[in-house]
């Protein structure tokens, strides 16, 4: 019994207090690599900022389209909501481009198509960076 309880407590990672990781996660979402800067991982933060920025700006310059939430059949919901969430993960780049009126319609062509995927991928890469910042802030990695 005692062994089972001990095993249970070993297997479940303890969630650290919100105050230890929330600022790094929030800043990491808003500014790619920001969480790493806050946690004094400057080199890694610069690399993340550069990679996400290059990808997002390339997507904009290729005139990629932003996804908008849309309901309908399952595939439509998955693609549009998934794409929208990916775009939003881009943080300040997404917010700025929407606030500054970027509204590229979805048109045919491989360059536009790559651009759309680059915009989503930039957000997803930023999401990976945010998860990494969380793990560092939670003390699970250096």
């Amino acid at each position: 019994m005692a062994k089972a309880i001990a095993k249970d407590t070993e297997e479940k990672p303890v969630t650290p207090p919100l105050a230890t990781w929330a600022p790094a996660v929030a800043l990491g979402w808003l500014i790619p690599g920001g969480g790493h800067f806050l946690l004094k991982r400057t080199g890694r933060g610069i690399l993340l900022l550069a990679a996400v920025t290059v990808m997002f700006l390339s997507g904009l310059m290729m005139r990629g389209a932003m996804f908008h939430p849309q309901n309908g059949d399952l595939l439509t919901v998955l693609i549009n909501w998934g794409g929208f969430l990916g775009d939003v993960c881009g943080g300040i780049f997404y917010l700025l481009s929407v606030w500054l009126g970027y509204n590229q319609p979805d048109v045919a062509g491989h360059v536009h198509d790559y651009g759309t995927k680059f915009l989503v991928a930039a957000g997803l890469l930023n999401l990976l960076a945010v998860v990494d910042a969380f793990e560092i802030a939670a003390g699970r990695k250096d």
């Binding site: 890694r44 690399l47 993340l48 550069a50 990679a51 996400v52 290059v54 990808m55 390339s58 904009l60 310059m61 290729m62 005139r63 491989h110 360059v111 790559y114 995927k117 680059f118 991928a121 930039a122 890469l125 990976l128 960076a129 998860v131 990494d132 990695k141 250096d142």
Partner: protein
Amino acid sequence: MPKMTLSHFEAAMLFSLCTSVVMGVVTKRTDRERLQYGVYIFACFVVALFGIGWLMYLGHG
């Protein structure tokens, strides 16, 4: 905002480069491991790019 027109190859290489950098940074625990993993991921992307490219070329006949 200037317009950028990339070929399939250029876009895929740019995608591979940015993704490899992030994957390398977030996955491993030491800088040496991160660099090695980033280079490995990039090499995998390039091999897949050429491999799938050739498959599509040969598949078209």
